[in-house]
Subunit: 335 residues, 2 copies
C-alpha cells in the first residue's frame, strides 16, 4: 500500500507533508525550498526579469532521451533563455492521479533534479494536488521559470529584419518522432531519441559573441514551420528557407517518410531558432557548434521582404513551397 | 462544432492562436501579455521577490461565491501576500479536456480577469494544453504569482514566538463546505458560499499598522487546524486556542454538525491567520475589520511554550482538546 499514491497525499495534511519530504525535498533540496512557506523569498533578483510557464502532459512519461521530468525543466528553462535571460529559479506544481506508483513520481523528481542541476536553476516552491482515479492521466506537471535578462535589447519575435540570417541549432523533429514511436511501440524507430536539453548556456554564448540577436525561439509544438510563421507574422516579414540546409537526422528522415510526417512540423525540445544580422551569423553559428547541444547547427535561410508574413521553402529541386502554420493537431500530448 | 474545444487547439498551430485570441487575450489583455513571446519581460521588479505556485483542480468548476477562476487568482495572490509581498504578476497555464464547451472556458477566463483586476495583478504569460477526452476532468489551471516583498523582516511560519497573539480574519470553513454542498447537491446547505477573496490589500494594511507581524498564513487545504500545526512545528512552539472565540457562521456550524465535519479542518480561500506580538494585536484586528473581507476578524488564541509543536483547543465547557494535523483526505479537489 505504501507504493502507490493515496488521495490523502493531496489533502494538505500529514500525508502531504510525508510526500513532500520523501519525493520533493529529498531531490530538490535547497535552503529556499526548505523554508516551506506559502511562497519562496528570492533576495537576489534584479529587473528586468523574464517569466515563463508551461504545463507538461506528455505521454508516455518516459521515452528515449528524456521524460516528462526533463521536459518540465528544459522546456521552461529554454523559454526563459529565449528572452536573453539567465534562468535562476523554477516553481513546480504536480497534478497526480490517485494510485500512481510512487516510484514513478520519484523517477520524475530525480529527472527534474538532475536537469535543474545541469541548467543551474533551483526549484524553490511547489504544489501537489492529488485527484481521484480517472480525473487525470497519471501525472501532469507545471513549471514556471524566472530569469534575469542580460541581453539588451531582449530578443523578441517582433524583431526580425529584412536581410537577417536564420539559424537553427541542430536537427529537427527528433522529439516529436520519438514520443510518437514510444507511444505506438514502433520498433523500426528504435534509433530515434528526444533532443530534450537545456539551451541556456548556449544562448548566453551566442548572445555574447554575436552581440546583437533579433529573435530567439525554441520550435516546440508545431515545429520549425509553425515557429517561423509566428515570427514572420509578428515581425511582418517573410522568411525564405533552403531545404537542403535544414538539418534532419537520417533516422528522423526515414521515419517521417515512412509515416508520412513532416519533420518541419514536429516538436523539438532542445533546439533554437536564431535570427540576427547577416554579419553576425558566422560567429553565432560557431558558438552554437561549440556547445554539446549545437553540433549540427546550420544556417537555413534569410529574412526577406514580404507582405503578411509567409514562410517559403526553396526545395531540393529548385521549386518553392509555401510552409503554412500547423493546421490541426499533428500529435496530442507531445510535451 | 465551434462551441466545444477541439484537440488541435493545443497543437501550437493556428487553432491554438485562435483560442488564445478568443479566450485569453480578450479577457486578460495587457501590453506585456500581448507581446506573445516565449516568456514575459518584467521591467519593474526589484528584489526581494516572493514567488508562489498553485494548481487548481476544484470540482465543480462553479459554486456559490466563486469558481475555479476566482480561486486561481485569489489563492495565488494570497500566498504571495502571506510573505508580506505586493503581488504584481501572474502566469496562467491551462490543461483542458477535448470537448470542453468553450463558453465554460470563457466564463473561467472572465472570472480570472475580474479577480485579477480587483487584486491589482496582471496575467502576463500563459500556456494551454489540450488533452484527449478522458485524460483530464474538464479544466485544470495553474497560476504562479510574483510579488515585491515590502515587509521587513518578511513573515514566515518559523517566526511565531511565545506570547504572541493569534488572529484570524473571519469565519472558518465556508469554502470547504460550499464545495462539498455544490458537488453533492445538498440543498439544505443553500445558504453557504465560498469566501474566495483577495487578501493582499488587507495584508498591507495589517502590516502597515502593526509594524511587526511574525506569521501570516492562509488556512486553505487542511483548514485552520492543519495550518496552525504546521506553524507550531516550524516555529517549535505550541498554540492555545479559545474555542468560543473562533468565528464560524451559523450556516457552516449547522451544516458541519449535520454532516459530522469539523470546520477547523475545512478549507478557506479568503482568510488569513496572523501571529504577532500581543501589543500589536488590537491594531491588526482593527485593520482586518476595516477591510470588506475581515468584518468578523477575531483574536482566537496565543502562542505558548511547548515541545514538539502542539495545537490545543480550550473548549466551550472548559476542557482541552488536542487539535492534530489533518489525517486522511477530508475532501479531494477542494481547490
Amino acid at each position: 500500500m505504501d507504493d502507490c499514491l493515496l488521495l490523502d497525499a493531496g489533502s494538505g495534511g500529514r500525508a502531504s507533508q510525508r510526500l513532500v519530504e520523501r519525493c520533493f525535498l529529498r531531490h530538490f533540496d535547497n535552503p529556499l525550498l526548505r523554508r516551506l512557506d506559502d511562497a519562496a523569498l528570492l533576495e537576489d533578483m534584479a529587473a528586468p526579469l523574464a517569466v515563463s510557464t508551461d504545463s507538461y502532459t506528455v505521454t508516455p512519461l518516459f521515452f528515449p532521451g528524456g521524460s516528462i521530468g526533463t521536459l518540465a525543466v528544459h522546456g521552461t528553462v529554454n523559454d526563459v533563455s529565449m528572452l536573453g535571460a539567465r534562468p535562476r529559479y523554477l516553481s513546480c506544481a504536480f497534478i497526480l492521479e490517485e494510485g500512481l506508483p510512487l516510484d514513478i513520481l520519484e523517477r520524475v523528481a530525480r529527472d527534474m533534479a538532475a536537469a535543474a542541476r545541469e541548467a543551474g536553476v533551483r526549484i524553490v516552491t511547489g504544489d501537489t494536488k492529488v485527484v481521484p482515479r480517472g480525473a487525470c492521466d497519471k501525472l501532469f506537471v507545471n513549471t514556471t521559470g524566472l530569469g534575469v535578462v542580460y541581453a539588451n535589447p531582449s530578443p523578441s519575435g517582433r524583431n526580425a529584419r529584412v536581410g537577417d540570417a536564420v539559424l537553427v541549432s541542430g536537427t529537427l523533429g527528433d522529439h516529436g518522432l520519438t514520443v510518437l514511436a514510444s507511444r505506438e511501440n514502433l520498433s523500426f524507430l528504435s534509433d530515434v531519441a528526444s533532443d530534450s536539453a537545456p539551451l541556456n548556456k548556449m544562448m548566453e554564448d551566442v548572445i555574447m559573441v554575436a552581440g546583437e540577436v533579433h529573435v530567439l525561439r525554441d520550435p516546440t509544438r508545431g515545429g520549425l514551420a509553425t515557429t517561423l510563421n509566428e515570427i514572420a507574422q509578428q515581425s511582418d516579414v517573410s522568411i525564405l528557407l533552403d531545404e537542403t540546409a535544414i538539418p534532419v537526422s537520417e533516422s528522423v528522415k526515414n521515419g517521417c517518410s515512412f509515416l508520412g510526417l513532416d519533420p518541419l512540423y514536429l516538436a523539438n525540445e532542445g533546439k533554437c531558432v536564431c535570427i540576427l544580422p547577416e554579419e553576425r551569423a558566422r560567429a553565432a553559428l560557431a558558438a552554437m557548434r561549440a556547445s554539446p547541444y549545437g553540433a549540427r547547427a546550420a544556417r537555413i535561410g534569410s529574412v526577406t521582404r514580404g507582405r503578411g508574413g509567409s514562410v517559403v521553402l526553396r526545395t531540393r529541386i529548385g521549386g518553392q513551397r509555401l510552409l503554412g502554420m500547423l493546421e490541426g493537431a499533428q500529435l496530442p500530448r507531445i510535451c
